[in-house]
């Protein structure tokens, strides 16, 4: 049903820190998003999930690997990037900061349209005001005219987020990347914004990549989910499978500490995600892995592999459930080394 639209193929992104060390924010990620589906990219801070989003939009250049749009690798010239951005848009985190405080809502929404000359090319011959109003209405701001002359500080958090979404929709994109779309919003209005994303998928056929740390959000709206740890995807697959039958110890631990999950005993990991300048050898999760700590990895004879043998990058297979874990690979009855559970 969905074709591959935007892909990351074995993408690595490096930064040089102040101390001169090389930090691998992404260490080989395969990810794809197609039209008409919602993919959740889940991870904690330091996992690299925001970097994936920015690299897929061309804001960062990969040190290795490539980003592919409609089968063609990205061309980083200004003109081609601009064409890409008409079709793939992003809604940034922090709605308060993402809107220029000196621009009215109308100007913020119209900005992208003017850059791409959308009004001139409109097949229905609508003028700019009508297009802005249409975009704002699609984002749930009704009546749009009421808000045209407002400034960002006069809006509520939810309205600001909708303005950002409207600004992205005004370009008529096929794919939307939403970075933590509801984390800074009040709890009671989160559902509205999430429902909006679902509506855009259903009515406009948009593909959406949602970057978030919230597993509940993924359960709410995502078709597929990819869990990231320290620059790699460690588990990926259909949401129901990954969240109800997680195979990777990290995913299992994450799920177990989500409040009010009664089925799982909480596994609180010690410490925090390590520095991306010092990625552990072997499986990058092994220093904190509960299976290593409680001996089950040793019992099954894979502990040595966990410490020394690096795992392969998970393929972007949209239908399968893939895990990057030596223990899971051992315990699965089918599948190659990467532990694919088909």
């Amino acid at each position: 049903m969905t074709g591959r639209l935007l892909e990351a193929r074995k993408v690595s992104v490096e930064f040089v820190t102040r101390g001169g060390q090389v930090a691998r924010a992404l260490d080989g990620v395969d990810l794809e998003v197609g039209a008409g589906e919602i993919v959740a990219l889940v991870g904690e801070s330091g996992s690299g999930k925001t970097t994936v989003a920015r690299t897929m939009l061309g804001l960062e250049r990969p040190a290795s690997g490539e980003v592919v749009f409609e089968g063609e690798p990205l061309n980083y010239s200004l003109r081609r990037l601009r064409e890409l951005r008409r079709r793939v848009q992003m809604v940034l985190q922090d709605p308060a900061g993402a809107l220029n405080p000196r621009q009215t809502v109308y100007e913020s929404v119209a900005e992208g349209m003017r850059l791409h000359g959308i009004a001139a090319k409109d097949p229905q011959k609508r003028n700019e005001i009508e297009l802005v109003a249409a975009a704002m209405a699609s984002a749930g701001l009704r009546p749009p005219e009421r808000l045209f002359l407002r400034y960002p500080h006069e809006l509520s958090g939810g309205q600001r987020q909708r303005v950002l979404i409207a600004g992205a929709l005004a370009l008529g994109p096929e794919l939307l990347i939403a970075d933590e779309p509801v984390s800074s919003l009040d709890a009671s209005i989160r559902g509205e914004i999430l429902a909006l994303l679902l509506k855009l998928r259903d009515e406009l056929g948009l593909g959406v990549l949602v970057v978030t740390h919230d597993l509940g959000l993924a359960w709410n709206i995502a078709d597929r989910i990819a869990v990231m740890y320290l620059g790699r995807v460690v588990e990926a697959g259909p949401t129901e499978e990954v969240l109800q039958a997680p195979q990777h110890p990290y995913t299992q631990a994450l799920l177990s500490v989500v409040p009010e999950i009664e089925e799982l005993r909480p596994v609180v990991l010690t410490g925090e995600i390590p520095d991306p300048t010092r990625i552990p050898g072997g499986c990058r999760f092994h220093p904190r892995c509960p299976a290593v700590a409680d001996g089950s990895a040793a019992a099954d004879g894979v502990e040595e592999a966990c410490r020394t043998l690096p795992l392969e990058i998970l393929p972007p297979d949209p239908r399968g459930h893939h895990v990057a874990c030596h223990l899971a690979a051992l315990r699965s009855t089918t599948g190659p080394r990467t532990g694919s559970i088909v």
């Binding site: 940034l92 809107l99 220029n100 900005e111 009546p143 002359l149 370009l171």
Partner: protein
């Protein structure tokens, strides 16, 4: 749809074009700023004083005949004290000091403003580019700014004035070229901080190139600081012009407050006690500079509400 339209016409008619909407909004925020400014008493005082001097400068031909400037047509005695005929006495050539003062206002203000324009244009451009770009062009501009900042103003001004020759425009140029660095530094640091804001990244995501980002996002957020800085720069420029003219570097064919002070000094007005020749131009310079400073401070309050009530 009609209900929404009706609702809309109460506040914001849909029929207005985008530009009219923007213009109306700008006018509203201008009025709000004006009201805030009005409440600042010292700022209003400064504005009144500036208005007075601006009027004097513009209406000079009406207030005092231009002939009063010509040495050959001077009718007064040498350094006569104030009298009913010459309210501020005469200079060493027999000209009315009042006439000189009035016409001098023109030159002093004009040169001050021209120099400020030059300084602000160079300073803002350099500040924006060195703040926004990364790479060697930014580094070069920054070093240039620092270099110019460190060079002492007076020696450089003297050298330039001597090389370029003595004319009004050259004086304005000299002052502009020596005073842009402080503006550039200010704009640069402001640009650096704005560059990191999320809405700049959003513009990039929408497909904006560098110039669009600078023009539509960085500049409007930097402009308030530019405005406040401008008024203070004018004050400094007028002082600079006065200094340079006093040192004999100004246009010899024009009368400015600085040249009056130079003449007074040359003819020993201090020792002869001809205070009417020295004090008025000095007082005028002080008043104008003070007025600009007060207005500048009030403007800062308007543009940065957090400073209010300090």
């Amino acid at each position: 749809m009609s209900a929404a339209e009706h609702e809309a016409t109460d506040e914001h008619p849909v029929r207005l074009s985008a530009r009219q909407l923007a213009r109306r909004r700008r006018r509203e925020s201008f009025m709000r700023g004006w009201r805030t400014f009005r409440r600042n008493r010292s700022g209003m005082l400064g504005l009144v004083v500036l208005g007075l001097f601006a009027f004097i400068a513009l209406a000079a031909p009406l207030l005092a005949s231009a002939e009063g400037l010509e040495v050959t047509k001077a009718t007064g005695g040498v350094l006569e004290p104030p009298s009913s005929e010459y309210w501020l006495g005469t200079d060493d050539q027999g000209r009315s000091v009042l006439t000189l003062l009035i016409w001098g206002a023109r030159i002093s203000l004009f040169v001050g403003l021209a120099a400020t324009v030059i300084s602000m244009v160079i300073g803002t451009l350099v500040g924006l580019i060195s703040g926004y770009s990364s790479g060697w062009s930014a580094a070069v501009l920054f070093r240039l700014t620092e270099w110019f900042l460190v060079i002492p103003f007076l020696p450089l001004a003297i050298v330039l004035a001597t090389v370029l020759g003595r004319s009004l425009f050259n004086i304005a140029l000299v002052i502009g070229v020596t005073s842009w660095p402080s503006t550039a530094l200010l704009i640069r640091s402001q640009t650096l901080s704005i560059k990191e804001r999320a809405y700049i990244e959003r513009a990039r995501v929408l497909g904006a190139g560098r110039w669009h980002q600078i023009r539509k996002h960085v500049l409007p957020n930097v402009m308030p600081m530019v405005f406040a800085n401008t008024t203070l720069t004018v004050a400094i420029a007028i002082l600079a012009e006065t200094t340079l003219s006093f040192l004999g570097l100004g246009d010899p064919t024009r009368v400015s407050w600085g040249s009056m002070l130079e003449d007074a000094f040359q003819v020993g007005a201090i020792t002869t006690g001809a205070w009417w020749f020295i004090v008025p131009p000095g007082v005028c310079v002080v008043l104008v500079v003070l007025a600009f400073t007060l207005v500048g401070q009030a403007l800062e309050e308007v543009l940065n509400p957090r400073l209010k009530g300090r």
